[in-house]
Amino acid sequence: MSIHGGIGQSLPRKEDARFIRGKGNYVDDIQLAGMLYLDFVRSPYAHAKITAIHSEEALKIPGVLAVITGKDLDAAKLAWMPTLMSDTQMVLPVDTVKFQGQEVAGVVAENRYAAADGAAAVQVDYDPLPVVTDPIKALQPDSPLVRPEKEKKSNHIWHWETGDRPGTDALLAKSDVVVHQDLYIPRINVSSIETCGCVATFDTMGRLTMYMTTQAPHAIRTVFALVSGLPEQSIRVISPDIGGGFGGKVPVYPGYVVAIVAALKTGHPVKWVETRMNNLMSSSFARDYHISADIGATKDGKLTALKVKTIADHGYADAAANPSKFPAGLFHIITGSYPFQKAFVEVDGVYTNKPPGGIAYRCSFRVTEAVFTIERLVDEIARKVGMDPADFRMKNFIPPEAFPYKSALGWTYDSGNYGGALKLAQQMIDYAGLRKEQAEKRKKGELMGIGISSFTEIVGAGPSAQFDILGLKMFDSAEIRIHPTGKVMARFGTKNQGQGHETTYAQILATELGIPAENISVEEGDTDTAPYGLGTYASRSTPTSGAAAAVAARRIRAKAQKIAAHLLEVSPDDLEWKDYKFQVKGVPEKSKTMADVAFAAYTNPAPGVEPGLEAIDYYDPPNMTYPFGSYICVVDIDKGTGQVHVRRFVAVDDCGTIINPMIVDGQIHGGLNMGLAPALYEQITYDEEGNIRGNSFLDYLVPTAVESPHWETGKTTTPSPHHPFGAKGVGESATVGAPAAIVNAIVDALSPYGVTHIDIPVYPWKVWQILHDHGVT
């Protein structure tokens, strides 16, 4: 027997009913009486002293009411704010700008056009300072200092390392085969459809309500309380519908803080919404890792050791969205799906004259960087050993019977069947047939490549002993109320940004409570009503709040069993939960549904049982979950232009128990596109003067439907042993796994010319240059 909308069903998304009718409610849809608008004067310089700010002309423009500068904020000790990594970043600069596009002054006006005109009319006098945008140069002793106010007179922020350095060095020295590879993973922007924004408003009692684009409303409320000194109960953060987050809506941006100050100063609600260019110039970036790695193997193809050194470009502030104890995020999942005997990883964070950040961009804290590195290296060492890359991986995978498996860098993987996923992918794409086709095409001089990526993710932060954000433990929550009529209101500490929480959480509760999903409403994002939680990012919602939903529902079921026993005049021990109702054991016709019990909970509760039927759970997972997958990509390369055509792409994912197959497929499709993007199109670069290249979609190439190949998906199911119903996260797997598969395919196509690596994005000109150098074009 099944319940309508239970786990495993492709239930249409409940939230889509309003989205496809244009009834979504985003920050920019919010209109309040007397609302004003905020825009920013931005720095044209990447590094400069501010010698004067002239706001007189701006204030003459009709509708312009105020100009807020760093000195105004400094008087209230609000010019600087803490980052998520215990560094500091400017709200508005008092005397120095650190990157091009930085907010210099806020202009408040009666409409957004006047605010923009006002921003254009503010005159700022600058004295340019030397600029450094290259983190390698930034580490040299004669480099300009990005943060001279710091005690440490260096652009070096921190050094972090883990693993066994001497053991790894020794094992690499003994390995029959060693491959060294340098890789650069460029700076990119998440480019959500909706940019960042907010509406700040104070009521007559001085209580702040902040409508804002945030993935973590409760944590933001706490940060606001700590920074502003406002009592936390006097701050309400509402995160309405969000048009994509992907990590970019975790940080606190200057616009949020200045909007609050502007609302306080003017006595009016104040709205701030970024333009696309503002977003590309100044919102938190992702990646920007310069990696140098060595991998070793025996001559018969068994992996031995892995050593990785990374320079991490953090811009002018270390504002990475990482758990506090992990300055390089979870980069040390870099041992991937393989049982290395020894491994060592080190990362150095560096300041440059670029925007701050280091957000994950649809991955669990730097896992994409790790997966790209290991899967590129594994391909290269397989080639050097002389083995097919699929056979090499099969030979080296951590075997299913080894789980739970402790990696060389200390993570305990919960479950996995890596060989099963790769085998299915090979079957789906006819791997053997493709290799034959490739051999024939090579004889004819045609360029065809086949690339594999067999990734392991680490998601679901986290065990609170290891994971926190600014000291806030990374648990998450669910609060369930069953009304007398058997209908459910469930609230969560996470925040949907397109993932489908209103549907998947309802499906979990439908299965656990025996109430159809259509009778379950899900709410998130209002700190006045939702239980405290750390929000949605790093694929953590199902592993944490999803688990909390199950645990809270089971708590309700335990109470409901007593009420059902009262109604059926039997002992609770005489009942069993079967077919989504309480049945008297051996007498199935004597039963009560959850709706029956709910009505009784308010009208006829059992003696000694308190009325009502609700529960709350704050779930602290015992471990992370480790989804995995195997992707195979086939590319054809145009010898005349260097253009890469992704002919086929098979993605086999394993995220444990699947709640909604349709939604998982949607997650995979979206993630694959966001994996294709950095592999072939997206990057943000800077010239030597700090001018950003890529601050519009003219230059920042987000793939459209035209560029997107047909994605073929498959699934294996290896449940997580510690999650209440065996689920793992899936929202980011495809973004993490896809880039290596695509680049491996391209390198495979070009390997007859001795090519072992091409840095992403693999633009046609890079391929053309290689072909030209080899006399192919």
């Binding site: 310089y45 254009a120 005159q123 700022v124 110039m281 001018n691 890529g694 003219l698 230059d699």
Partner: protein, 150 residues
């Protein structure tokens, strides 16, 4: 970014130097709408409405003559900003007598930062070359049209 050029003008070095030393005359050679709001000694300020590709706006600028060697060389430094952009330019002209005329070797060292530099990166060099060449060509024409070019 540096652009440079050279031209011959049928006017003596003294006349050329005098022309380039007069900021109003020099800036009148610009095709773009502009104002000169203040001239105090070697310092001056004003506005110019210009742009690269579709990014256009009004820049405020401050400038000063940083080197003046009569009849030989003149150097001007200009700093301006507007619409989220900033420009720093060092313009120099080296004058050499050539018969009855003058050879003018000019150089423009221009640093442009901001949205124009980001959005229209590929067009900046050609735009600066075009505008600088036009300015000096107009200067040449005006010098040669002047009643006394000695």
């Amino acid at each position: 970014m540096q652009v440079s050029g050279q031209f011959q003008v049928r006017a003596g070095p003294g006349a050329v130097y005098a022309f380039f030393s007069d900021v109003r005359k020099l800036l009148d050679c610009l095709d773009d709408p502009h104002t000169v709001d203040s001239v105090q000694g070697d310092q001056f300020s004003g506005t110019i409405t210009t742009g690269v590709a579709f990014i256009r706006g009004t820049f405020r600028f401050n400038g000063q003559y940083t080197q003046k060697t009569p009849g030989q060389r003149i150097v001007t430094q200009i700093r301006g900003s507007g619409l989220g952009n900033a420009v720093d330019a060092m313009l120099s002209a080296t004058l050499t007598a050539a018969g009855t005329g003058t050879t003018v070797a000019w150089n423009a060292d221009v640093s442009l930062t901001g949205s124009a530099a980001s959005l229209a990166e590929h067009l900046i060099r050609s735009t600066i070359e075009k505008k600088a060449s036009a300015l000096f060509e107009k200067a040449r024409q005006q010098l040669e049209a002047a009643p006394s070019s000695a």
